[in-house]
Subunit: 186 residues, 4 copies
C-alpha cells in the first residue's frame, strides 16, 4: 500500500474513534508507520489532510447513494432506494460515518469546503427538485428538504451504531416510510 493511502486509512480510523482533536499528527505518524516529514510531503497541513479525507469521502458517498437507480423505478421507490443506499453505506463503513460526525461540527471545516463538496450530490438535488416540480413532493425549499431527509438517515444509523436500537429490515422500512410521509404530497 502506498504511504499516502496508509496515512489516509490510519487517519480515518483514528479520527473516527477518538475525534479530531484527540488525534495528533504524532499519533497518525506512529500508527501509519511513516516519518513526520512524509505526511507533510503529501499533505500541506493537518487541515489539508482532514479536508482531503472529507472530499474523497463525499465523492464516494455521492456515488453510493445513486447506486442501482434506474429509470424504470417509480418516484417513491427511487426515494426508498436512495435513503437505503445512504443508510447501508454508513452501516458498511461505520468509521466513515463517525468521521463525518466528528468533522462536520468542527470549526476546521470552512463553508467554502462544504459547498465545494455539495457538487457530489447534484443528482440527489436534482431528484428532489424534480419531485417538487412534478407535484409529488411538498413545496419546501430543496436544501431544507435534503437536510431533513439526510439527517433522518444519520439519526437512525447513529442509534444503530451506538447500540441504542436494534436494527431490523422492518425498522429500516418503517423509518424510510416515515421520512417519505414527511415530504410526499397526500
Amino acid at each position: 500500500m502506498s504511504k499516502r493511502k496508509q496515512i489516509l486509512d490510519t487517519t480515518i480510523n483514528l479520527v473516527s474513534e477518538m475525534g479530531l482533536h484527540a488525534t495528533p499528527m504524532s499519533l497518525i505518524i506512529k500508527e501509519s508507520n511513516v516519518a513526520a516529514g512524509t505526511i507533510y510531503h503529501y499533505f500541506k497541513s493537518k487541515d489539508k489532510l482532514i479536508n482531503t479525507l472529507y472530499s474523497e469521502l463525499h465523492e464516494e458517498m455521492g456515488n453510493a447513494i445513486i447506486q442501482n437507480i434506474n429509470h424504470e423505478l417509480n418516484y417513491k421507490d427511487k426515494f426508498f432506494l436512495i435513503w437505503k443506499n445512504l443508510f447501508l453505506f454508513y452501516k458498511t463503513h461505520p468509521r466513515k460515518f463517525e468521521f463525518l460526525e466528528h468533522y462536520e461540527s468542527s470549526p476546521l471545516i470552512k463553508n467554502e469546503i462544504k459547498e465545494i463538496n455539495q457538487r457530489h450530490y447534484q443528482p440527489a438535488i436534482d431528484f428532489f427538485k424534480t419531485g417538487i416540480q412534478l407535484g409529488v413532493l411538498r413545496n419546501l425549499p430543496v436544501a431544507l428538504m435534503i437536510n431533513l431527509i439526510f439527517s433522518n438517515v444519520s439519526t437512525l444509523i447513529r442509534m444503530v451504531l451506538m447500540d441504542e436500537i436494534e436494527y431490523t429490515d422492518q425498522l429500516l422500512k418503517e423509518t424510510i416510510q416515515s421520512s417519505w410521509d414527511s415530504i410526499k404530497i397526500n
Copy 2:
C-alpha cells in the same frame, strides 16, 4: 454578577463561536475577567466546566419545550407547540444551540453524562409514548421518534442561523407539518 456566572456566560459565548478546542482556558480567563485560579475554584477542570454548562443548558431546554402546554389542547396542537417551543428557544438563544452543536460531537461528552441529562426530557418522552399508545402516532421506537423530530428542529434552526434559508412563520409552520406527517397515523 457572581464570578461563577461570569465564567459560565463567557464560556458559552466563546465555545459557541469558536468551538470547544479553539477556546483555551486562557481566553475564558481573559474574557471573563477572573484569575486562572478562580475558574478552578469553581470547576475542577475544563471538562467539568463544559459539562456543567451542558447540564444547566439541558435543564433550561427541558423546561422551555413544555412551556404553555395545557390540557385543553389536542394532541396535534401540543406537538406543534413543543416543536415550536424548542425552535424558538434555539432562535432566541442561538449561542446555546451552537454550543450544543460543538459539544455533542465531542469525545469530551461521556454517554453517562448524556444519559443523566435525558431526565430533563421526561415530559416529552411521556408525550410521545402516550401518542403511540393512543394510536395517534406511528408505532416507532420512542427514542428513535424523538431523535428524528428533534433533529428536524436542529436542521431547520441550523439553516436559519447560518443564513442558508430565510425564516418566515410560514416556513416554520410547513416544516412542523412535515415533521408531524412523518409520525402521525393517517
Copy 3:
C-alpha cells in the same frame, strides 16, 4: 484540640507520607479542617510551618536521647542507651523519622536553622567530647563522630521501617556494638 495543634499534626502526617512538595497547603487545609486564612494566622508561610515542626521535633528528640541516663552507668553503657533511645524514639514515632528524611535533604532548610537546632543536642555533644578527652573514644572530630553514629541509627531504622530487615533485640544489640566498635579505643 487547638487549631494550631491540628495543623501541625496533619502536616507531619502528610509530609512524612507524601513528601514536602507533594503536600500542598491546600491539602493541609482540607485534612486539618481549617480555613486557608487560619493557617496563615498561626504560621507566616509554609516554610515557617515546616520549620516550626522541625524545631519542635528536634527539641523532643534532644530530650528523648538522654532519657534514663544516670551517672552510675559506665561510659559504654551510656553510649548503648543513647543509641537505643534514639532508635526507639524513631521506632515509636515513624512519622517523625520519615518527616526528617524528607526534610533534611530539602533546600527549604537553611543551615542557619540546622545550627540553631543543634543546641538541643548539647548533652550528646558533651558526652562524646568527654569520651575523647577521657581516652575512651578515638580521636575523631566530634561533629564527624556524632554524624557517623547518628547516621548508623538512621540506617537501621530506615531498613526496619521499610521492611528491608526484620527487627529483633539481638539485631539492635549487634548494630549498636558495631557502632561502638567504630569509635571506642582498643
Copy 4:
C-alpha cells in the same frame, strides 16, 4: 555534544545545586539551550529524565568503586580501597553526590527503580558476603552492613563538601579505619 547529553549535564548541575523541585523544566530548557519539545523527545517526562540520570549515575558509581581492586590485595586492603574509591568518586564529582542527596529522599523515586539499580553493586555485595563467610567480618545482615558503610562514606563527604570539616589524608584514613573497626572481627 549531543542534545541528549547537554540536557543530562545541565540537569545534574541544576538539580544538585537547587534541588529537584527547585529545578523547573523551563530552567533546564534555558540552560541547556534546547527547545522544550526536545527534552520531551528524549525523555517522556521530568520523572523519566531524573530517573535516567539516577540509573546512569549508579552504573558509573558501580564501576568506580571496584577500580584498582586486584586479587593480590588482602581483604582489609580491598575494603579500604573500595571505601576510598567511593569517597574519591564523590569528591571528584561533588555534583553527583549532591544530586543523589536530593534524589534519594524524594518520593519521585520508586522502590522498583532503587532495586533495579542495585545490580550495579553486585561485586560490592559479593565482597561483603565473602567477608562474612570467611569469618573476617561480623555476622550482620549484608544489606545492613553495606548501608552502614556506604552511609559512613556519605557522612564524611557531606561534611567535607559543606566545609564543616577540613579534609586531610589522615582524616580519610582514620574514618575508614573507624568503618573497618565497626565490621571486622577482632
